[in-house]
Symmetry: D2
Subunit: 302 residues, 4 copies
């Protein structure tokens, strides 16, 4: 233990510059330090031209994280996006110009129901949004014919979106795969179940495609926002290969509950999903705070 030769913690000084602040975070402790490290690891992932899986669980699109995904796709800060059916649903809702409303978590939910408003913590969404979603997607679903992966299906949606801020559209244009292993676990999934005629979406084909992506001769990185199925689906794809070289994880779950969303990245090493010497760090923080900070660092740091 040569701490005396070690690095001192440097008390942070307020700054008006995100880069300065996050660089300073690296020299503190607890989750500020972890955030500083995560920002640097993400930067190294990009600079080393690693192949980057970006996973997103939790209601991040309703909460305003949409343009970060779009921007990451435009800048090559992600190569594959893996997310939940819910986030896809809310992305389409945003793309149709309906949007989400600033609400309140301390309300009478029965009264909300009677006003046709759905609540996601402090986000309000009018029931009308789902009607417009249905109007938009049901003809697409009815028309499609054949066996699709989720990303091929989502490209079909993206192709028909006009909003230039839509990451579904960008993904279509740039042929970036969006894997949605819980597509069926969403309102869009209900519509697929109800409106499809000859459409088949084969989630096991998705598994195969993920496995294939892990066989490239490249370094691999993973950015995990919020755990859940997107996290596991991505990590397990590496089971048959050598493991990720880089990993950052933003979560509000804790290791001691024993679940996957809170599992440490160290634990993933016992499964060989991360390489022995992978650079990896977990930031325990609401992603609505941590993601814009880390992403801004990535984007603006020279």
């Amino acid at each position: 233990m040569e701490h005396e030769n070690g690095e001192k913690i440097e008390p942070i000084f307020p700054a008006n510059n995100v880069i300065d602040l996050i660089d300073a975070f690296s020299n503190t402790a607890f989750n500020a330090k972890r955030m500083g490290e995560a920002a640097k690891i993400y930067k190294e992932m990009v600079e080393s031209k690693s192949f980057i899986f970006f996973t997103m669980a939790g209601a991040m699109i309703p909460a305003g994280m949409r343009l970060i995904v779009t921007d990451a796709m435009k800048n090559g800060f992600l190569d594959v996006f893996v997310t939940t059916g819910a986030n896809i649903v809310h992305e389409v809702v945003e793309s149709l110009g309906i949007g989400h409303y600033k609400g309140d978590a301390n309300v009478d939910d029965v009264e909300l129901a009677n006003s046709n408003i759905n609540r996601i913590y402090d986000v309000f969404l009018p029931q009308r949004a789902f009607e417009e979603l249905e109007n938009f997607v049901s003809p697409i679903i009815s028309e499609l014919d054949g066996k699709y992966t989720t990303f091929e299906f989502l490209w079909e949606i993206g192709k028909r979106i006009e909003d230039k801020n839509s990451f579904l559209r960008i993904a279509y244009e740039r042929k970036i795969p969006i894997f949605c292993p819980t597509l069926h676990d969403s309102i869009l999934g209900l519509h697929v179940a109800i409106y499809r005629k000859k459409l088949e979406i084969d989630l096991f084909k998705d598994v195969y495609s993920m496995l294939d992506l892990c066989y490239q001769k490249k370094k691999f990185g993973v950015v995990i926002v919020g755990g859940g199925v997107p996290k596991n689906f991505t990590l397990q794809a590496m089971l048959l290969n050598e493991g990720f070289d880089y990993a950052i994880q933003i979560t509000t779950d804790s290791p001691h509950w024993g679940g996957l969303s809170g599992a440490t990245l160290e634990e993933a090493k016992s499964w060989c999903k991360l390489k022995e010497n992978a650079k990896a760090v977990t930031v325990y923080c609401d992603a609505t705070i941590a993601l814009p900070l880390i992403y801004s660092y990535l984007k603006f740091k020279d």
Copy 2:
């Protein structure tokens, strides 16, 4: 506010009887009170002959919750089981007699990897388990032909299991549907992707089956252990119907992170997934503690 006519909190007295202790919990506060209420609501679900969906996320089978599922199936304390691919994988591992080992969360994961041990928090699982799993399931997967829901596929597995404690076997014998909306997000899912010849598992057919189950002329109850996809997949099935009459939820997540696993049951009312006057309570507790207690109450309380 007529609190003075209200009920007093009654300080709890130690007891050696689970029923007494949980009945006493009801007259305390915080999560002990919530646990007492949850136990009573589950009891009322059963006594009112409600149709009961039981959802389970998190590594509950590795952590020893398996026989509760089996027992609940045998006693009619659940009508539908909705769980993750991981829990199914670990159920098969248990059924094959391999089992899980008492481990430690503070270990060197690289050393574990080198010893071919996979870690799930403080549970150790030898790599060998997955080899035996593969030997057992790969011929089944290769042999099956046709389009299956997940529960039909899992009945095929259960049919071939000899262990009488296996809930997969019991589910097969009693034709209890086990929905597994994240089957593809597990090692069993990898095997399906790799070994299938003519097998198709259509998760959107699962959606349809869930919707169908919600059209019965019955009261409906839901027992939610741990959130995740099993929670959402079950609640959304009620979207086109009238909402659950009863709901209990055991979770370690918090509402203020905005995600579904921590979302209150009140929030579900804004979506009409629960009836306005549904009896519902959330217990914030590790399910390895709360589930055996609540279940024991259900089983032994007259």
Copy 3:
């Protein structure tokens, strides 16, 4: 890693007997296993005739944990009690027969204020309680003369309480020290500040008394409910001595926030507050659930 010779996790079977259930918990994982271990360590503390510090933070007395403290004092399951000013205040309120009421956390707090009801999460307490408290304690405070430790002061309160369930009374009768390092941080503390004439309560004398208690030729155990000042105040008393032999901790805080309440018992070893080979375990659980279970095990297990 000799896991194959290790112990298997044994799936838990429902039981109506607390001892059986907690013994079974020991063979599972996550926090059920930790609870099983904690119960056994507390039992060993008692059986080895260790000197036991019992610390309690959080609103445990309002939440109904009062009789456990009383019972532990009567049975010699604690030798010193260290708690917050708030818990002492609520103990007096209970002793005066006013009690606490079953309330609700989802209420309009302004309306409560207008109805003279104070809320502690889902516990309601009429403002009147504090008036009766004031009537009871103000003459005692005015009358006392001299320099007191908190435990000597609290014995003076206990001496005047008639309720036989009062742990303040039992502590007085049996000369069990109740340290209250945050006495001034409570409504009782306000009364002391306002009504005292010649009374001095010297908290640094408390420190000295705690240090003294750690110099006995005995094994030492600590039961930590909820962290906070009672935890630190007790652990730091051991700084000048050899460290605790046994420690159990029930907390809902997490290590990764960096605070003391969530700090692991391992961390305490770096400070030599616990012995190298101390038997120690943390249970991550609401203490309203964990404490009655662990305590009942201690009381009824042969």
Copy 4:
């Protein structure tokens, strides 16, 4: 529910300017939104010339938050500072030039103990720091004579510190009261107990001083970092007065555990500690992240 006329959530765009980012946070959801609101409320506190209590619990000084306190004192962004004994200890350690070291939470604590290193999550502190602390404070403690409040005692320490970045020194120079209701619950408290000759520190006099401060004809604000005794000690001082006009709280605790550190600011209204119409918001976030951001906003926003 007029949500349709309500405000839309505006997806956040990455920025390199802290002000822009936090202003954008206000238009999102979850804790980013709460952080945006908290920053604005703190700004309004200052601009309305409110009398500001700033409370800090948790190991914030070891984690690098020291200069924010110093800067806030210099700029009039706080009028009273309320913190723990531990934070005072670590401030003196910093002021003596010893500092804290960047460590790791996944270490062998027994090995650390043998190397004379104390651990605070991922912060390492050499045992030597406490020896130098003792050398510095013991003569002061021995020399002081009379009855002191904690802030008067801490001014005596500050007077003797040379480091211009020391907030103890700044507090002395500007006569800013630093209340330390848990002074005795720290290593400095141990030194007081051991080395004092004629020094008395009367914590009930502190209570009286706090009450006095709440009788000014001013608006009152409170900035709560981390809960604990500093939070309660400050809020209870307002019990005999009209309540705070502004309150922001940064915490990682949750309401549903029932403890004070996680208690909502709404709950404080039932106690009349906050005014009915107080502007108040809680940010659920590690303060090492949230505090530098909010403080930087306060400092640099026009």
